[in-house]
């Protein structure tokens, strides 16, 4: 037998319901906490959702955030947020800052004059400064983006739910989508807790989490469906345990390969995309957890009607059994 890296023993027999109060209860608690953070701390919205202007500066001189702030705030602008950016890929003499400005008047985009004044003041402070990017989003668009994002999440969830309902049973659809929402909300909670900038790309990341996490859950469900036909008399809970054990090796493999790839993006992909990579990284972790500990628990709670199986009346153990790959 050749040597192989094994993430799980060949045959496992874990009882994934044994500490249900801890695992499933913990998930519920984490979700509640996520809502609490979301409600109390709020999200650190980027200009996509709040409107305003961001300037990215790049200079060979070290950045004095206080001096930057003083220079920007002396201009006719509203709130100013300045953060220094660090990244392993920067050169030794590369100093980058992100400056977020909101307009002095409510419901207005930052005026061009104000922006020019800000830039002039910064150049006066540091002649080596360069403005490598500049983005302005008006209040009208930012409001719409919030709406579109919520719409996108809802449409995706419903789409996935319909698909699973079609391919499995409605209990699976509900369990799967609730597990998804668990992943997404906890990720959002983490963004609220650490006040990481929340912009449009993060929404894309959350949608990607939906896609990834359901992928994991579906593989478990698929095995569950197969085993339900195979072991007609085994209690539902045991069939579930068996299915998760059987797919455990695959679940871990796929999670690890995805985490490796996304982790590489997070570390080496540059600071512009770090928030996005981080969100996906968290989502993959949570998605793996929820497909093992959350989705099937919900199905078990609702219960399955196993009397009328097989549904299509065919003794085939498998809907795709006759497909030639």
């Amino acid at each position: 037998m050749a040597w192989r890296l094994r993430l799980a023993p060949e045959k496992t027999n874990f009882d994934f319901f044994r500490h249900q109060w801890l695992t499933f209860g913990g998930s519920v608690l984490l979700m509640l906490l996520a809502f609490v953070f979301w409600g109390t701390e709020g999200l650190n919205y980027g200009i996509d959702f709040k409107g305003g202007t961001t300037l990215r500066t790049d200079s060979s001189q070290p950045i004095d955030v206080g001096a930057y702030r003083a220079a920007v705030e002396s201009q006719p602008v509203g709130d100013v947020v300045i953060t220094e950016v660090f990244d392993p890929s920067f050169r030794a003499d590369q100093h980058v800052a992100m400056i977020r400005i909101s307009s002095a008047e409510a419901d207005q985009a930052v005026s061009e004059d104000a922006l020019t004044a800000v830039k002039t003041a910064l150049v006066k402070l540091d002649p080596a400064i360069k403005f490598v990017s500049e983005e302005t989003v008006g209040p009208k668009v930012s409001g719409e983006l919030v709406y579109t994002s919520i719409l996108a999440m809802t449409v995706t969830s419903i789409g996935i739910m319909l698909y699973i309902w079609m391919r499995f049973e409605w209990q699976f659809a509900l369990g799967g989508v609730l597990a998804l929402l668990h992943d997404v909300f906890i990720t959002v909670g983490i963004f609220a807790l650490f006040q990481i900038k929340f912009d449009l790309t993060i929404v894309a990341a959350l949608l990607t989490i939906l896609g990834y996490s359901i992928n994991d859950t579906v593989v478990v469900f698929d095995r569950l469906r197969e085993n339900l036909v195979k072991y007609k008399t085994m209690p539902l809970k045991d069939v579930m345990n068996l299915s998760v054990n059987e797919t455990l090796s695959r679940t871990l493999m796929t999670s690890i390969t995805t985490l490796i790839a996304v982790g590489s993006m997070m570390v080496f992909g540059g600071d512009v995309i770090r928030g996005f990579s981080f969100a996906i990284f968290m989502g993959v972790l949570l998605g793996t957890y929820s497909s093992v500990y959350v989705a099937k628990n919900i199905v078990l709670m609702i219960g399955l009607d196993r009397s009328e199986k097989p549904k299509n009346g065919k003794p085939s153990d498998h809907e795709f059994a006759n497909i030639d790959a």
Binding site: L5, R6, E10, D58, D87, S89, A109, K130, F131, V132, S133, E134, E135, T136, V137, K140, V141, L145, T148, A152, T156, G159, I160, Y163, I164, L200, T201, V203, A204, L207, T208, G211, Y212, I214, N215, V218, V219, D222, R250, M253, T254, I256, T257, T258, I260, A261, G263, S264, M265, F268, G269, G270, V272, I273, F276, H318, F320, A321, D324, A325
Partner: protein, 555 residues
């Protein structure tokens, strides 16, 4: 023994060969781009090539594919604007220009309707008060006769004006179908004009798209800043020739009814009072070219169409010795005195232009005026350095991610892991091949999409390999185990990838800009990864299996 049908094996080979050929140009990005630019430039010059262009042309051989992926704004740097066209402006213009017609029409029936007066109202609505209330019905009929059928597919059989009465007043506005038709025309016109103006500056592959009902997205790679882009498209370039009523230095002077006080563009503290109703407007221009006046100063020569030429000729012959104003975007650029009747419809605009200004003005006049004002809702400028940094970082992340995942697969599945890794490389190649061929745009989140695909692409293989292991454990023969492994893993793979596809589709349809780029690479990645993981690895496994004929295998 394991056999796929011959056609399938040939198809797989053909697809892989195509993938390699079609993605190849991306490895020599700058060479291919230089070649493509040269091809375009030579085409534009009707086949005449300068020596430099010939040299550029030679940087990439003609017989190889030359489609490369477009780099998004966040990778190449450039300017992005989201503009909202004030479509309602056009209603107001239409209604305003209707007033003289309404007045003339009602004048014919003066004995029945009495005196007619225009009443103040919101823009886009014409209110006319009629002196004699009994004549209201006659007046309404007269105004209704001015309406013409709506020119559109949906509004067939409907009139363009909606005429109602309110007390002693006739209220005229555009009807609903006419508004819809007008909006469509306004948007098309705006798009066309923006396209012409941006093209005149000559940058590479600008994106000019209509978004939603009244928005236009403009992305110009390689442009310095959004402010520059705004300067190119922002000027409405509305040119009119108006009667001059007076000239003053008082900025607060009262211009009187139906006149406006307009500043002079080159003389400080000089204001002209001009009549609101233009004699001729820029829409009647057929041509405008930069030229020089008698004193060899830069000027713009223009030519009117037939009706413009007639109006201009009549006006100039009736007003010899009087000044008239040439008004551009509400500024008087010059107010020459009419020396003689100008027949034939061509003339020259002088002002204190520089050569560049006269060239720009000619371009703007030729392109035509924007039909309505635009508000800029979103402005983004990305510097080329930042884009290059992102590309470099993305490359490093892709390579490291891929090497790490490959090593991991190798350690976990040995020889089969190697097969999966070959498929993984082909997968990346295929993604670039498809992106290049469909002219897709690669954005920074798009690169992240590729990285994510690397992680998820091996998933299908993991599913298959795990399944083969299970089958081997229950002592199936090797060939049978491989076959069943693929068969049984199929349903999980289909379900997993279809649900991921739902997400990609939603992201594509609801996402904007970079996010859409992510959806594209993710969607392509899903399709290609299923192809490579199922077909390509199976093909390789079959080759290996039939060659070595192993009696037992270790996955």
């Amino acid at each position: 023994m394991l056999y796929s049908p011959l056609w399938k094996r040939l198809l797989i080979l053909a697809l892989c060969a195509w993938g390699i050929a079609a993605s190849l140009p991306n490895l020599f990005y700058s060479d291919v781009e230089a070649h493509n630019d040269a091809v375009k430039a030579i085409d534009a010059a009707a086949g005449m090539a300068t020596p430099e262009q010939t040299a550029e042309l030679a940087r990439w051989p003609e017989f190889l594919p030359n489609a490369v992926v477009n780099l998004g704004l966040d990778l190449r740097g450039g300017a992005h604007l989201l503009a909202e066209v004030q479509v309602a402006d056009v209603y107001a213009q239409r209604i305003d220009s209707l007033w003289p017609e309404v007045r003339d029409a009602l004048r014919d029936v003066r004995d029945q309707v009495g005196s007619v007066r225009r009443m103040p109202s919101v823009p886009g609505v014409l209110r006319v008060s009629v002196g004699n209330a009994d004549g209201l019905a006659v007046a309404v009929a007269k105004v209704q006769a001015l309406a013409s059928p709506v020119v559109s597919l949906t509004g067939v059989g409907q009139k363009d004006l909606e005429v109602t009465t309110e007390g002693q007043e006739i209220v005229v506005q555009l009807s609903e179908p006419e508004r819809v038709a007008t909006d469509t025309r306004t948007m098309q016109q705006s798009l066309e004009i923006i396209r012409r103006r941006v093209d005149a500056v000559g940058t590479r592959e600008p994106t000019i798209q209509r978004q939603g009902s009244d928005r236009i997205l403009i992305q110009v790679p390689g442009l310095g800043s959004a402010a520059e882009l705004k300067a190119i498209i922002g000027t409405t370039a509305k040119l009119t020739f108006n009667t001059v009523v007076g000239r003053t230095t008082n900025p607060a002077a009262d211009p009187g009814p139906r006149n406006s006080l307009l500043a002079s563009s080159d003389e400080k503290d000089v204001y002209y009072i001009v009549a609101d109703e233009p004699v001729v407007s820029g829409e009647e221009l057929t041509d405008a070219q930069p030229s020089f006046d008698q004193n060899s100063r830069p000027a713009v020569s223009f030519k009117f169409n037939v009706s413009g030429a007639r109006k201009f000729g009549e006006y100039t012959s009736a007003n010899i010795g009087q000044p008239f104003a040439i008004v551009l975007d509400d500024k008087v650029i010059s107010a020459p005195t009419i020396q003689s009747a100008i027949q034939g419809g061509s003339g020259i605009i002088t002002g204190n232009f520089t050569l560049e200004e006269s060239t720009n003005l000619a371009v703007l006049l030729r392109a035509g005026a924007l039909p309505a004002k635009m508000n800029f809702l979103e402005e983004r400028t990305i510097g080329p350095e930042l884009g290059q940094d992102s590309i470099d970082a993305g490359k490093v992340a892709v390579i490291i991610g891929m090497v790490a995942v490959s090593l991991f697969m190798l350690a976990s599945y040995g020889l089969f892991g190697l097969f999966a890794n070959i498929a993984l490389v082909i997968n990346i190649v295929m993604i670039f091949a498809v992106l290049s061929t469909i002219g897709g745009t690669l954005t920074l989140p798009g690169i992240a999409g590729i990285v994510l695909t690397i992680g998820m692409a091996v998933d299908a293989n993991v599913l298959v390999f795990e399944r083969i292991r299970e089958e081997l454990r229950i002592h199936k023969t090797t060939a049978r185990a491989i076959e069943i492994g693929y068969e049984r893993a199929m349903s999980a793979i289909v379900d997993a990838n279809l649900t991921a596809m739902i997400t990609a589709a939603v992201l594509f349809f609801l996402g904007a800009g970079p996010v859409r780029g992510f959806a594209v690479t993710m969607g392509i990645g899903i399709v290609t990864s299923v192809f490579t993981a199922l077909w390509v690895t199976r093909f390789i496994i079959e080759l290996w299996f039939n060659w070595r004929k192993p009696t037992e295998i270790v996955v």
